[in-house]
């Protein structure tokens, strides 16, 4: 029994460190990269780490998945609440990632770059100088009045 307990503690330590490691890796990717798609990938890693952590918290030793088999004897089950949370969180994550990618596609169409630094430069220049529209954007009548 003692051996089982220490094995379990080791397993949980590995699971928690893995989850926290994913969070840190995602945050590092988001902080250090300048490419928008890589920042989104970092966000996905971060989200995976958070999900993994929550599911790992619900883990129990020698427990089965929380599904009742009628007629079978009742076994201890893992915590169903984090699983239910993660179930929806994964789908929300897909939706958020798709929205982020959609915005990224638009940014590339309008500005022609995905580099955060180049984008910031362009945006500050556009704010200071006369509004110079990039080519694919629709023409704005205000610029004609100004000239």
């Amino acid at each position: 029994m003692q051996a089982l307990a220490t094995d379990l503690e080791l397993l949980q330590t590995v699971l928690y460190s893995g989850a926290f490691g994913l969070v840190l890796l995602g945050l590092y990717a988001m902080a250090s990269h300048r490419h928008l798609v890589r920042i989104l990938l970092g966000l996905t890693l971060l989200e995976g780490g958070a999900n993994l952590f929550l599911v790992a918290v619900g883990f129990r030793a020698d427990a089965v998945a929380p599904i009742v088999t009628p007629g079978a004897q009742a076994l201890p089950m893992v915590d169903p609440v984090p699983q239910a949370l993660i179930l929806t969180a994964i789908v929300i994550g897909v939706g958020v990632l798709a929205l982020g990618l959609a915005l990224t596609v638009r940014v590339f169409e309008v500005h022609g770059t995905l580099d955060v630094r180049a984008l910031a430069q362009r945006l500050t220049q556009a704010g200071e100088a006369t509004p110079e529209e990039p080519s694919p954007a629709p023409p704005v009548s205000v610029t004609r009045d100004a000239s």
């Binding site: 928690y16 590092y28 599904i67 009742v68 169903p80 609440v81 798709a98 959609a102 638009r106």
Partner: protein
């Protein structure tokens, strides 16, 4: 090493130390599980689902699931809004090869059947509306990937999406008329483990599945610049 990389490293290491100290305080060897224990004990009788996760998603946390559907709806709508008005890019996209086209056509009915199975058995086996909806979205998206010019009717997809969302809310409102609370399970519990059991929960999961499927398919189509965008 640029200053940005250095700053990111320092930030990540600092946060890692904080997380490591948090981990010292985590209960190892089985976290306490009071709510989960109570739900596992009473859910099979009270809600009637063999899959207890489903009873948490739809019965105990039904309102949260509605909120999550709303987030997904907002994300899908915003994605469509951001990407609308672009020219469909299938003029520039070449057709896939013969094997991929045939395979995608063959996969379509099987993916659809698998998605429907996973949605309908969400209260019995692992799975449910969210997972099955994702598979149904894939069923519609795979043929589009192999044949960019094949039609995807966005009007029908948005009607399905709206009707499914309305169905979820209407089922929730119906429980109010019986004197219960919003989204309380209706129609009794039935026999545990049967396909027609757990009252209104399978209906709710059908609504979730249709909504998730239509939304994800629409998002993917927009993102790929396929179909009749705009």
């Amino acid at each position: 090493m640029s200053s940005r990389t250095f700053a990111s490293l320092v930030f990540t290491l600092g946060l890692g130390l904080i997380l490591a100290s948090v981990m010292q305080g985590l209960p190892l060897g089985g976290a306490p599980m009071q709510v989960g224990q109570a739900i596992v004990a009473q859910a099979p009788e009270a809600v009637g689902t063999a899959n207890i996760v489903t009873s948490v998603v739809l019965a105990y946390r039904g309102l949260d699931t509605l909120g999550e559907l709303t987030i997904l709806f907002a994300a899908a709508t915003a994605g469509g809004l951001v990407l609308s008005g672009r020219r469909p890019s299938h003029a520039t996209q070449s057709q896939a090869g013969f094997i991929l086209r045939t395979g995608a056509g063959l996969l379509f009915p099987f993916l659809l059947a698998l998605g429907a199975y996973i949605i309908l058995h969400g209260h019995l086996t692992p799975g449910g509306g969210f997972q099955g909806g994702a598979i149904i979205a894939a069923a519609f998206f795979v043929p589009l990937l192999s044949r960019p010019e094949s039609p995807f009717n966005e009007a029908v997809a948005s009607v399905i999406e709206g009707a499914a969302g309305a169905m979820f809310i209407v089922i929730g409102l119906l429980s109010l008329t019986n004197g219960g609370s919003f989204l309380e399970p209706l129609l009794g519990t039935g026999e545990l483990g049967e396909l027609f059991s757990a009252g209104s929960l399978p209906l709710l999961y059908v609504a979730v599945g249709l909504k998730v499927g239509a939304e994800l398919a629409g998002l993917l189509v927009h993102l790929g610049g396929l179909g009749e965008a705009g």
